[in-house]
Amino acid sequence: MALKFEKFREPYVIESIKFGLLSPQEIRRMAKVSIMRSDIYEADGSPVVGGLRDPHLGAVEPGESCPVCGNTREECPGHFGRIELARPVILPHLGDDIHAMLQSTCRKCGRLLLPPERISNLTRLYYRRLRERWPRLADVVVKSIIKEASETTVCPHCGESQFKVRYIRPIIFYERRPEGEVRLTPLDIRDRLEKIPDEDAVLLGIDPKSARPEWAVLTVLPVPPLSVRPSITLETGLRSEDDLTHALAEIVRQNEKLKSFLSTNAPETMIEDAWLTLQHVVAAYIDNEFPNIYQLTHRRKRPLKTLAQRLKGKEGRLRGNLSGKRVNFSARTVVSPDPYISINEVGVPVEVAKTLTVSIRVTPYNIDEVRKYVLNGPYKWPGATFVYKADQDRKIDLRYQKDYRKLAEELKPGDIVERHLIDGDIVLFNRQPTLHRMSIMGHIVRVMPGKTFRINLLVCPPYNADFDGDEMNLHVPRLEEAQAEARELLLVEKHILTPRYGGPIIGGRQDYISGAYLLTVKTSLFTLEEVSNIVSRAEAKTMVSEPAILRPKPLWTGKQLVSMFLPQDLNFKGRAKISSGALKCDSEDCFNDSYIVIRKGKLLMGVMDKNAIGAEQPNNLPHVIALEYGESKARELFDTLFRAFIRVLEIKGLTIAYNDIEIPEEAKEEIERLTEEAKREVEELIRQYREGVLEPIPGRTIEESLELKIIERLQKLRTDAGETAIKYLKPSNDIFIMTRTGARGSDVNLTQMAAMLGQQTIRGRRIVRGFRTRPLAHFKLGELSPEARGFIKGNFREGLKPTEVFFHAIAGREGLVDTAVKTSQSGYMQRRLINALQDLTVSYDGTVRDSWGNIVQFKYGEDGVDPKATYHGKPVEVKRVIEKVRGSGG
């Protein structure tokens, strides 16, 4: 099981990886058997000797011992075989390089087609300086050498005249001789490549020690061991072979065919054909998606997965198995909200807690505690699943033990116990897509009944979670080092501030905002009973202050309650979200209660809404507190004051009904008037257009100008209608409260419910699609009136006309398509950015460097500032400094 139980072994460290070509000698040396038969099993079911399941390829069956190394299947590493190709085969993946080599070397003597003194000059330059110091430049030089040599027509070494070589991908080479084009067979090509001396190969960018040019033409093909291409036995008893085995079988088949043609002196064309097929099959064996080759398939259907396909793509070895490993000690389930746990916590179902374990070492100090776990066994929480006896080097699985008591008594310091997850453990919690560093944070475990993970609502913004069925993943860090790191760096409270733009990412949304508003609004007064209800739920640590109103009965203001939770010396001011329109305030002289003033920890004025406590609102209350009083102080605020907001909402209630969006008759008439007026103006525009006197907008055609002007006018109509409707809503209206405080919904939503939907658009234009000259059959041909182009006079309260429903559906569909396209595109862009930037680091001298030490930026962000520690990007906010000094001095 766990690695740490094994004996410590000196680890091997990979220092570098070098890619090259295998030489035929190397392949033959590795190979333990030559494969010559394409059939795999004999009639009796035993593997064919010299077939693709030859026992010399390694032991895979239980009980089988390997004829090569003598090991059983657990120990036998598997051995390579080989296929001796009847004729050499070009690797089409190296086709362009082969082409370059053929063109730049002599067809007779194999030397590089440059004068001898130039070769020696280049060698000196190339060897001494470039390869080591400027590998990139060396590549450029190689390119120019190849170009220069390819253009030579007479060999400077032997005087042979040179011809152009034409390469038709993927396999065929021709030489343009004066007498006509002549096909170069792999045999010819190999002969030529063999003649290239090592010194000249170096100048072609080749390291002859790891890849001699002629090795690009295969004469013998390595056959991977059986463990690389295991066969599976189906329930029916039939054997099914791996795709690679099928591909190899095809190679053997073609190879044997070619061999027999050669030995029976078959006609030249048949040999040519078989040879070409062999080349295609070998190419497909390496990459079955190589362009212009015959794909290998399973009975004319599914293409085989050959070597390249195993590595490529999302499910390939690299992205699927190396970057994306599956892990143990993790859990996944639905998340649901719990406002009464800390933001640092996560509620874990008992069932999960009994499956995930932490290993603890028994010491004289914790032995009593650990005994309790062992005594509980694996099925009762908090228990233990494994006991590792240090002196016996033995793991005991408690699931198969009866006498827990005996085990518990026998525990000794030094033993290791796999203990259930208990309250206070640290775990990592994650929601996909993991776009952020805040998408994985450390939480403290709180084991609870139920089957879902519970999270505080305030951590929804960083995860972008909601509770409509979202699932999240939980991981247990098992080493003390990892646990300490999680506690110090990943804990939720360390991520209240985001490094993205210098503001808090954790904060209230929706109910928290309406709750805060209802608590702090001037009209809210609370009785003793209510105050104790709120304050006790929020676990306030200070005493309740003197009530603001003493008679006829003691009443407290919400602002008094908020002040109980604030730091004693906090000074803060800022505009509230409701500060707009008639309630606009820009300074402390505010009669609308829309400017927040906190002096010495007392909320003196202003209501709390989205601007004061909302998530992702820079320079709000939690932001200032996190920066100036520390993140744990901000967390304390989230765990106390914010609970009070929720409690207020539970006392006061917030709900909406049909009559909340009802507006009086006179409002309806006013909107009707506005509509008539707008319609008249639009008709006037259309008349002007028909008569050709419409003033065009610069750079637009007359038609475009007309459309733009109509859209502009109708847009204005909706705004006006909305304003009229909202004017008539009572301030106590719950929808109105929600839009005004920023809790949920916008003025547009409200307008659409109470007044009118307004102009529906596709790509910012009025709706013209549908029939030839009209969107729907309900209108006249070519009609330009607002109604015929997607203007909706109706609203959601009164309902839409049939035509209006269609227009609304059209515009609604566009929105859906847009979001679908946007997410996929931005997701891919994100992936590319992350791949490009992932190992850039800020080093201790403030420079940004990549992993090779190359400098990317001379000072991080050109100012060396960590945005996390700023006021919305400003390292020093002068307004804050003044506020702090002024507020405290008095």
């Binding site: 110091r133 430049l137 590549d139 390119k143 030490g853 001379f858």
Partner: protein, 87 residues
């Protein structure tokens, strides 16, 4: 690269920051301060118009002082190279 030399006025353009070729001593000092070899610096092509006007040679280090919205004046160094970064 051949062709017409870039015109002088581009140096005066408000979007072109101040470029300066460092002397050998200055260059060595900069490299020592950053603890890097020349090729670990960002690179600038010899075909860059400003580099051509400055008559810089491959291997020279150019100091660029530019106004930065975050950092006031930001100083960057570029190594002049005779080839493009990618192939």
């Amino acid at each position: 690269m051949s062709g017409k030399a870039p015109e002088k006025w581009i140096l005066e353009h408000r979007l072109v920051p101040e470029h300066r070729v460092l002397s050998l001593e200055e260059a060595i000092q900069v490299l020592r301060r950053l603890g890097v070899k020349p090729w670990q610096l960002p690179q600038i092509s010899i075909n860059d118009p400003v580099v051509r006007l400055l008559n810089a040679k491959p291997g020279d280090i150019i100091e660029i002082r530019r106004k930065s919205p975050t950092g006031g004046v930001a100083i960057a160094y570029r190594l002049v190279v005779a080839f493009e970064r990618r192939s």
